[in-house]
């Protein structure tokens, strides 16, 4: 913190602050550099000796403006970019861990999508779908790629899920298999986050998901009675939005998933 009362002379303090701000900039710490220059500007304006030094004030203000421009450019810059085929192949290779060829192929395509390589991921998923490999997972990911790309295909593929106002399906009408749900948490420790779950069982309009003990913080957000607004439900033939309510929560007592949480979600009628 800059202080006039410090043992250093004002000139030394200013030089030191300039050095600090400049170093933060070279380190790419743009916000921190800007903060330091702003702090310095206030210090100069309050200083008896330097407050009339317009040249110094102008120089610091210029630095602040340059930084603000760079920060804006960074914030508006692309969050992702299209990579070369070689790097995409590397991603597929590095982030595939399954032993079976089919699961590995799906995993590779999922990895591409996760790194924002949607076009290449789509090619892979479409090829997998044509071969009948894990069709539910593959179809679900095709839809997600289109949604992430925000292309017109998303609207064509998802007639039940227009991006503005979604027409909800009545749960009683849909005797269809739901393979997965996406839940967006509006409160609690996961506020603002969307978490995907695979559906393990389904009985009528109640789906059951299993959450590992390691994900206790997620299970804690799903206590009986919790209302789940605007869930996305995935089925092999469509994706739709609905509300749900946690109707039951239990701990699995035996078997390989002993200790994990079994949570039932009843999908509501409108």
């Amino acid at each position: 913190m800059l202080s006039v009362k410090s043992y250093m002379s004002e000139k030394e303090q200013i030089k030191r602050a300039l050095r600090e701000a400049s170093l933060y900039k070279t380190q790419g710490l743009l916000e921190e550099s800007r903060e330091k220059y702003l702090e310095l500007l206030n210090y100069i304006r309050e200083s008896q000796k330097f407050s009339t030094n317009q040249e110094l004030i102008d120089a610091v203000e210029k630095k602040i403006k340059e930084l603000e421009k760079s920060i804006q450019e960074f914030e508006q810059g692309p969050k992702t970019l299209e990579l070369s085929t070689q790097v995409q192949d590397l991603i597929k290779n590095l982030f595939t861990f399954s032993n079976t060829d089919e699961a590995a192929a799906v995993e590779g395509a999922v990895a591409l999508a996760k790194f924002g390589q949607y076009e290449r991921a789509l090619e892979e998923f479409q090829s997998l779908l044509e071969k009948g490999i894990m069709p539910v997972v593959t179809a679900k990911n095709i839809i997600r790629c289109y949604l992430s790309m925000n292309t017109p295909e998303a609207g064509e593929i998802l007639p039940a899920m227009p991006r503005a106002k979604t027409k909800r399906k009545k749960a009683q009408q849909m005797i269809i298999d739901i393979s997965g749900v996406s839940i967006r948490f509006d409160g609690g420790p996961l506020k603002g986050q969307t978490v995907d779950f695979d559906v393990d069982f389904q009985s009528s309009n109640t789906v059951s998901i299993v959450i590992s003990t390691n994900q206790k913080h997620v299970a804690d957000c799903l206590e009986p009675g919790t209302r789940l607004e605007d869930m996305q439900c995935y089925s092999p033939i469509t994706v739709f939005r609905s509300n749900g309510i946690v109707s039951r929560k239990a701990t699995i007592k035996q078997g390989p998933r002993k200790g994990d949480y079994m949570i039932d979600i009843t999908i509501e009628e409108d």
Partner: protein
């Protein structure tokens, strides 16, 4: 996307006596993770088997990850191959960090010694613990080495956190080995890597019994 992916561990090919493991450099944005790998690539070129892959966006910020494969040669009759990764440190790239952490065997946490990065270090360590938990891994159990980077900046009169403070804030509970470093100059980089490899391979030996 997709369902839960299988938990992957280091690959041990008993027939060909090859072990492959994955070391991830984690830490706040602009803390020096990529600079660590760049130094390793230059200084340990005998052990690097190919080019370092680095995918950056504007301002030299890591957008995806850096990747550097290394071969350590034979250790107790086993050919040991290491994959070094960095993650993007900016908070908004959480999903990429989670992806890169898949199948991790050991972690180097590169903490930034700059006083202004105090909060960012703590946030990043918390993020690491959360992401490891989602991988069914525990930050207290995974091989982990702490690196306090940018110590050279003290000479330039830049306010740094004392190592004692960093130890108290980041390592008092974890109690893992730590190194002071300047990734830019290379000091402490090799020592951090060696320690990370040591603790990781020791851990894998217990898990996989690969030296038997």
């Amino acid at each position: 996307m997709g369902g839960q992916q299988p938990d992957r561990m280091a690959i041990f090919n008993a027939k060909n006596r090859i072990i492959e493991c994955k070391l991830v450099y984690y830490g706040p944005g602009r803390g020096g993770k990529t600079t660590n790998l760049e130094y390793i690539f230059r200084a340990f070129n005998k052990h690097t088997s190919s080019e370092m892959v680095s995918i950056n966006t504007q301002g030299d910020r890591t957008l995806f990850f850096d990747f550097l494969p290394m071969g350590l040669g034979k250790i107790r009759g086993c050919d040991v191959k290491i994959q070094l990764y960095t993650v993007p440190g900016q908070p908004k790239y959480k999903s990429t960090r989670k992806m890169v952490l898949k199948g991790v065997d050991g972690v180097v946490f590169v903490a930034d010694s700059l006083e202004i990065q105090r909060k960012a270090n703590i946030e990043s360590l918390k993020d690491l613990a959360e992401n490891l938990a989602q991988e069914n891994k525990n930050i207290f159990k995974i091989p982990l080495v702490m690196q306090y980077n940018k110590r050279d900046l003290e000479e330039k009169g830049i306010p740094l956190m004392p190592v004692e403070l960093m130890q108290r804030e980041l390592n008092s509970k974890l109690k893992v080995p730590y190194y002071e470093a300047s990734a830019l100059k290379g000091s402490g980089v090799g020592a951090t890597l060696k320690e990370a490899l040591l603790v990781t391979l020791r851990h894998l030996q217990k898990e996989l019994q690969w030296t038997k």
